[in-house]
Symmetry: C2
Subunit: 215 residues, 2 copies
DNA sequence: TCACGGTTCTGTGTATACACTGAGGCCAGT
DNA sequence: ACTGGCCTCAGTGTATACACAGAACCGTGA
């Protein structure tokens, strides 16, 4: 693996995990020393982070980690809605029904498990991997590399803001039902319904986020 | 201006204008010599192009200009639809009605001009700048940097594809009416109508493209 | 004491040198 | 003649050296 790839992966993770909080200045020599690479591959990594929107050029003063605000989250969700609704609709048309019937069943099982034992940690971890499976399934079924790339990017930003939204068991239980609905709509081959279910899910997620962060 | 910025701008334009057609291998030393910069800033430019999706890493063999196919155009329009419909809807809610009333009038005037003198070159050039004004107006009214960034990127790819679609006067006349409808819907503050008008416009544009390229 | 100018220093931008990997061609053996 | 292995070389990946620009700090003069 190339040094620039390693530097990029490390910096990206550090930013997403808030070890490098918003506003941090990323000095080239400093980060190069910290990550054990030379300045050249580190600069490449910083360029990629800038392209991703996780960092920005602060004229003359190097690059800084992009700040985050409530408006940022709203904007991010508006973009996310556009992308995920389109992806769900396309998946409904092109996806294999079996795949999403299975996912629906998995989500309903997960919901039952979360009902039985709310707050249990392995169940939560398993749930997150299940969500990732649904996302991956939709991406693949949508069969659109441009859309997929845009979704990867928006999910990257969402992963960072997720650190602000400590999800409670009750909300987790709700999302399981919403995800099951989305999977069912795709399995049924109904693009409008799939998009609507996705829109509802995202609306509720944002609402939940706001009730927590704006008291 | 930095050497890496110049190299990026030059390469991007060369790719969009098909002076570097799809499949071209971009050797570092070769391009560095051609553009009169060193390899270091050129590598940065290539990294940005790769992030944009205009070039891709061909393992070990340097980067190559991304290929284009009919499926590519379909996929691009699916992403474009998601983004532009969302942007139009947001603009309808947040934009100033005056701005878009003026744009609507301009489009109707342009339509009349195109009717009177079809194929006239200055009218066409003026029309393209008018379209750019509408795009910019929607972007600004939507007030969403993430969405705007995604739109910039998709328009970059569209600019490259546009070289395949030689637009005829009749189609240009139609788009003027469609654009006027979009502007009117935004001015009226109707997000659903704005999104629908945008969807119709893009559907017809793609249809036109297909009738030309798939005989 | 405050303001202005100069100097220094840190840090980025660029160029170049060196190492390594991957591919292609050539030679030898079967 | 064909195939497999080795050698060579082109080209990328990385490191480092050098130049330049911006900022901060200190000194001096009013």
């Amino acid at each position: 693996m190339r040094a620039s790839d390693r530097a990029y992966a490390m910096l990206r993770e550090d930013i997403v995990e808030w070890r490098l909080p918003p506003g941090t200045v990323l000095g080239e020599v400093e980060q190069a020393k910290r990550l054990g690479v030379s300045r050249t591959p580190l600069r490449e990594a910083l360029a990629r982070l800038t392209a991703d929107g996780l960092a920005a050029q602060h004229t003359g003063r190097g690059v800084v980690v992009t700040p985050i605000s409530p408006e940022t989250v709203e904007a991010l969700f508006e973009l996310r809605q556009a992308l995920e609704c389109q992806a769900a609709a396309l998946a409904a048309v092109r996806g294999r029904a079996e795949t999403f019937r299975a996912l629906r069943a998995d989500f309903e099982a997960a919901a039952a498990r979360l009902d039985a034992d709310p707050g249990e940690d392995p169940a939560r971890r398993g749930y997150y991997t299940l969500v990732a499976r649904l996302d991956a399934g939709i991406d693949e079924a949508a069969a659109n590399p441009y859309l997929a790339q845009a979704l990867v990017n928006v999910r990257l930003h969402l992963a960072r803001v997720r650190r602000l939204a400590k999800d409670n068991p009750a909300r987790l239980r709700e999302t399981a039902a919403e995800h099951a609905t989305i999977a069912a709509a795709i399995a049924a081959g109904d693009p409008a319904l799939a998009a609507a279910a996705t829109k509802v899910h995202l609306h509720k997620s944002l609402e939940h986020f706001n009730t927590i962060n704006h008291p």
